[in-house]
Symmetry: C2
Subunit: 205 residues, 2 copies
């Protein structure tokens, strides 16, 4: 594989997903940090050469740039045991990865960003208006995960896949967004189990 460079903001769970995938696979990744609060991903240089969408993470593979955390994890894990061999299970893993980006991340991750990094006092009117909605949608996402995990160790099949990595990243720090994980015991059991995966690294590593 060509050399790998992760353009990232280390505290972002989306960036952490890629580091976690690389760690489980034993792949070395060079890291380049951008201060998103200071607009470092909106410069002409970043927009022109790294990601026209102005966001991290972006995985650089040689001289090719790959935005979107899920796509980067899929690239790294291609052909590995982190992706199920069975056609339905593989699609079901994708289902959870899409679900995470649509139903979980915009609520659980956004509230963490707003509360931990910006602070409620710094939110604008539109953001403040969305707080109750995002709190309720985040709780619903965690409840759905808890129900799914009640009789399962992992999201798909009987082993860890990219679905677990995608969901672990923001779930295990959901308390930083104002969610009480003790209300979701199956989720807590699952996060503890994911953390025992060989090669595991923490968000702040």
């Amino acid at each position: 594989m060509s050399s790998l460079i992760l353009h990232e903001y280390a505290q972002s769970g989306n960036c952490y997903k890629i580091r976690l995938t690389a760690a489980y696979l034993g792949l070395p990744v060079e890291r380049r940090e951008y201060d998103i609060l200071a607009g470092e991903t909106r410069t002409a240089d970043f927009l022109g050469s790294v990601n026209a969408n102005g966001r991290i993470p972006v995985l650089q593979i040689g001289d090719q740039f790959l935005p979107e955390s899920g796509a980067a994890c899929l690239y790294l894990a291609d052909g590995s045991a982190l992706i199920p061999a069975d056609r339905f299970e593989r699609a079901d893993m994708m289902r959870w990865m899409f679900w995470e980006q649509y139903n979980h991340e915009p609520n659980v991750a956004t509230l963490r960003f707003w509360r931990l990094f910006i602070g409620e006092g710094g939110l604008n009117e539109t953001q403040r208006a969305q707080l109750p909605l995002k709190q309720a949608a985040g709780e619903a996402a965690l409840a759905l995960m808890d129900e799914h995990l009640r009789a399962r160790d992992y999201f798909v099949g009987d082993r860890l896949t990219l679905a677990d990595i995608a969901l672990y990243a923001y779930t295990h720090v959901a308390n930083e967004g104002g969610f009480d994980l003790s209300r979701y015991p199956s989720v807590q059991r699952w996060t503890a189990q994911v953390a025992t995966t060989p090669g595991h690294v923490t968000l702040d590593a």
Copy 2:
């Protein structure tokens, strides 16, 4: 392949993506319609047997249920020419599919749903507060697509992939959400070209 049943709301672009993928592949799909405005995807029966997340589309494959449009398209297209053989191109296709669900659909599709199906008069205060933000984010998404397509016929490589299908579904009806597609000439050229794909079916077919 087992028999395929699409649980859907026909006017949803997310459901259309699956029908389009099946049509290009020549796969027959039985369709079951739910009135989402009447809450037919939030009944105990639907939540218990079709999708605990209370949303369509769900692709039923034999007795297995697969929510999330992107996952369903990937299941259907597995091993076909709609998915690039090259590792980077395959991940790059996924990048656009994730980008569509995160940056495009919540803006372009949501405004179409709010304006065409609910009507601006029926929106609640939180929804009304988000209108300018979603309009701007939708325009930014269309502008990014237009820039990407300026010197390309398709989103990834030189042929149609699931990335085009995922992005076509809501883009070609973006005017119904209050977006003026004549401002995006490369997008218009691309939508016209996608519509010439062998097997193409329209949203209202």
